[in-house]
């Protein structure tokens, strides 16, 4: 039976680990107003470099730490130089998307190099525990605390007494003014990325030793926790990030003490959402601090969309409709069914992210809500599947909009963080609400698709059904966008202050977009549930949210035809080229990076 003191110690130790990640995020945000979604990947790289050092090179502990810090810093420098610096003059969403792409690439490279199986990372320290008051503490706890405190101190000395440190502080307060003092902002960025990466890498090493195990799922978790701690402390606020991290560690640890381990992350994300809603500038922001996001300016690349004549679209729809009658393989049909399901999700996301400018990173949650609603209704209440799917869509529309509504007052990158957190919360609620969702066991035996009493079992019928639903949703959305409503959506995206000045109620329009988008995504999730016949809390995950985002960027944000084209391209091309599954995520990451760099308006252009 662990004591409260144990939980406190554990919370502070974990908080120290988070702090190493969060401080780096805060430094980077301070200088470039960017949330670095690749921070967790550097942490992952740190853990695996540490594994190589400890297990293969047999380095002593101090050398291991230095080795990890240096390699991680190099990775950070490379990311800054080749991933982000070329995007300096792009639209504001570009660097954010680039860090997401980079994190996909790094995670997959680690996975391909080391296999996805967990590995043991020995701690290199004696396994003893000392009594301390009513609790115990071990050498590793002390090491983590020591690294945390000495890093914080070194950072303090660096920022306060070195010339480069002054430059970092000046640039994070006023970038242009710092340049006018002769500060080379590129060098500052480099320094900040190097430091952030070194700290992040060491953090990964320490966590691996702490839990004695490393695996590739660590990456996203670390990014999320770091972002939570950073936002709680106030984005860009370095001391705030440390306090936010310790607070997060304690909240989690006490939460686990009271409710159990599976609640750990739920507390983290609830804390984030509460802080975002009540104090978006963090707990310690002074009132006079400028909002960290610029209020105006293009967030999404403007462009002239490619006009596709109606007859060509009609021909394409007809061609895909008759496809099952041709001698095509079962495999091909299945691939296209996946593309249509992803297409529905992309329609939803392109509306929300592209047309109204709320770049959601948690869109898979809408799939999950639709899927669970439809599955449970048909399974437990014997609701006909067709109706259950519609109910799933409506539930996603309603619940999704309610869940997201607290973030309506946020802008830009903050919307992405909030939606990411809300997505995680949905999946964690599904995991923990066992009486309804069956928790970690998931739902099996979901009845197959059926319509008016006829089961849709054959691949052809499933194909036609999903294609028809997607086309119907796309037509509806195209109508919507050409209406007055669509123009209001775009006005809000392009300049919400002006839109408000014209008397548009932002909340109402954002709600409408999420209601429509939630319905499309929920229907997609519902169909998927009946197709798969088994779902659990991990079926619809962040990776899918990011895949959907890549699809809509590929097609052109806001572009209805683009969303479908993007879905077919991203699902279909890897199949055509027979790319092995483990390389696909890598390819998606690379596609995202290339798009952001060379064609931010996508294939068909933003609308």
């Amino acid at each position: 039976m662990a004591s409260w003191l144990d939980y406190t110690i554990n919370g502070l130790i974990v908080g120290n680990v988070y702090a190493l990640v969060a401080v780096g995020l805060a430094l980077i945000f301070g200088v470039s107003r960017l949330i670095n979604f690749a921070q967790g990947s550097i942490y992952l790289v740190g853990a695996y470099i540490g594994w190589v050092a400890v297990v293969q090179l047999h380095t002593p502990l101090p050398i291991t730490i230095i080795f990890v810090a240096v390699v991680a810093a190099l990775v950070g420098l490379i990311i800054e130089r080749f991933g982000l610096r070329p995007l300096q003059n792009s639209v504001r969403i570009a660097p954010l998307l680039a860090t997401i792409g980079i994190s996909f690439v790094l995670d997959q490279l680690v996975m391909l190099t080391f296999s996805p199986n967990p590995r043991a990372l020995p701690s290199q320290l004696p396994d003893v525990r000392f009594q301390l008051g009513g609790g115990t503490i071990g050498p590793l706890d002390l090491l983590i605390a020591g690294v945390g405190i000495s890093s914080a101190l070194s950072l303090f000395v660096f920022l306060r007494y070195s010339k480069l440190g002054w430059a970092v502080r000046a640039a994070s307060q006023d970038r242009d003014a710092a340049m006018q003092m002769g500060v080379d902002v590129n060098r500052v960025n480099q320094a900040v990325f190097g430091i952030a990466a070194a700290l992040g890498g060491v953090s990964g090493l320490l966590v691996g030793m702490y839990y004695n195990q490393i695996d590739t799922a660590m990456s996203l978790q670390a990014t999320l926790k770091g972002v939570v701690a950073e936002v709680v402390g106030g984005a860009g606020n370095v001391p705030g990030a440390v306090v936010g991290s310790l607070l997060l560690g304690l909240v989690e640890s006490y939460g686990v003490a009271v409710f159990g381990t599976s609640y750990r992350n739920l507390f983290a994300f609830l804390l984030l959402v509460v802080v975002l809603v009540l104090r978006p500038n963090g707990l310690f922001a002074s009132a006079r601090q400028a909002p960290p996001e610029p209020l105006t300016g293009t967030f999404i690349a403007p462009s002239r969309p490619v006009r596709i004549p109606r007859w060509a679209l009609a021909v394409a729809v007809a061609a895909f409709a008759v496809l099952p009658l041709l001698p095509v393989s079962f495999y091909m049909l299945q691939t296209l069914i996946n593309a249509w399901l992803l297409g529905m999700l992309a329609l939803s996301l392109t509306l929300v992210a592209g047309t109204i400018g709320q770049v959601s990173l948690g869109h898979a949650a809408l799939l999950a809500i639709g899927a669970y609603t439809s599955a449970l209704l048909s399974l437990t209440l014997a609701v006909p599947v067709g109706l259950a799917i519609i109910a799933g869509g409506l539930m996603s529309a309603a619940l999704g909009t309610i869940l997201i509504s607290p973030s309506f007052r946020l802008r830009g990158h903050y919307v992405s963080i909030a939606t990411l957190a809300i997505g995680e919360i949905v999946s964690l609620v599904i995991l923990n609400w066992e009486s309804v969702t069956r928790g970690p066991i998931g739902i099996s035996g979901i009845p197959p698709l059926s319509l008016f009493g006829y089961d849709l079992i054959s691949p052809n019928s499933v194909y036609w059904f999903s294609f028809a639903v997607m086309v119907a949703l796309a037509l509806l959305q195209a109508r919507l966008l050409s209406s007055h409503l669509g123009r209001s959506f775009r006005a809000i995206r392009d300049d919400d202050i002006a839109a408000r000045a014209y008397g548009l109620s932002l909340n109402r329009y954002k709600s409408l977009a999420f209601i429509f988008g939630g319905f499309a995504a929920g229907v997609s999730g519902g169909i998927a549930a009946h197709l798969y016949s088994y779902i659990n809390h991990e079926t619809f995950n962040t990776q899918q949210s990011i895949l959907a985002l890549t699809v809509v960027i590929l097609g052109g944000l806001g572009n209805v035809v683009g969303a479908v084209v993007g879905a077919v391209a991203l699902v279909g091309l890897p199949e055509i080229f027979r790319i092995a599954a483990e390389y696909r995520i890598l390819i998606y990451g690379i596609v995202l990076l290339l798009l952001v760099r060379f064609r931010p308006q996508g294939l068909l252009g933003t609308i």
Partner: protein, 246 residues
């Protein structure tokens, strides 16, 4: 009567500037003579601040030439331009709000590395701006507007510049501080620093300037020595036009 003016320190020649599709400067030509105070007058949105940004390399002109001491500044980064000897007092001061007054002033010496001389210069700033003495460890963001203007000027001087560019240094200041600022600009200039300043308040600026230019929607409509411009009715028009637009 043409006065023989010294060889220009700064020259903008035929500069055209755009923000996206919108043209802000139309063939702008301005020269600042060595040791002179030159003033750019103009109403709101006439392109004054953009002219400063062009000099500092914060905005790139689409065409035209900018030279400082005979060498082109085109293609240089802002820090490189600063190292050539141009310091700035930006619009609305732009201090580093969370850094102390001392740190703000010392940031001005960022391009220098002669520690002892920097310390001496800091002392010199405190004699030039005696009010800042008691405020050195205070957060810069907590100072009054007038005090902030002093810090911004001290910060600019710390790089030992050959030229200072200032964007509306008297904006929002009480009359007492306005006089103080103008006097300081004159003092700075007498120590050999050339000054290029942007102003909306023509009568104030013409008090201390040697030459002036009047900018209207991106075009120079008038220029000449401050003495002749002061009596020019068109300046009064432009000046009134400027304040009406405000």
């Amino acid at each position: 009567m043409t006065m023989s003016s010294p060889e220009p320190l700064l020259a903008l020649t035929n500069v055209n500037t755009f923000y996206g599709q919108a043209q802000v400067h139309f063939g702008l030509s301005i020269t600042v003579g060595r040791g002179h105070i030159v003033c750019l007058l103009g109403g709101n949105a006439s392109g004054k601040s953009t002219t400063m940004k062009i000099i500092l390399g914060l905005v790139k002109p689409r065409s035209g030439e900018v030279t400082f001491d005979g060498a082109s500044l085109i293609g240089l980064t802002t820090p490189q331009i600063v190292r050539r000897g141009i310091a700035s007092v930006p619009e609305a001061r732009r201090l580093f709000a969370d850094m102390s007054v001392r740190e703000n002033i010392l940031m001005g010496a960022f391009v220098r590395s002669d520690r002892e001389a920097i310390a001496q210069d800091l002392d010199k700033m405190l004699t030039l701006f005696p009010k800042l003495g008691q405020r050195l460890s205070q957060r810069a963001g907590s100072l009054s507007g007038g005090e902030q203007q002093m810090v911004a000027m001290a910060r600019a001087l710390m790089s030992r510049p050959r030229m200072i560019v200032m964007d509306e240094p008297t904006m929002g200041l009480s009359p007492l501080y306005v006089d103080r600022v103008l006097e300081l600009i004159r003092t700075i200039n007498q120590e050999g620093v050339s000054v290029f300043m942007v102003e909306q308040n023509a009568s104030l600026a013409l008090e201390i300037a040697h030459e002036a230019y009047v900018l209207q929607t991106g075009k120079i409509v008038l220029s000449g020595s401050a003495r002749t411009l002061k009596d020019d009715p068109r300046v009064r028009d432009a000046y009134l036009g400027g304040s009406e637009a405000a």
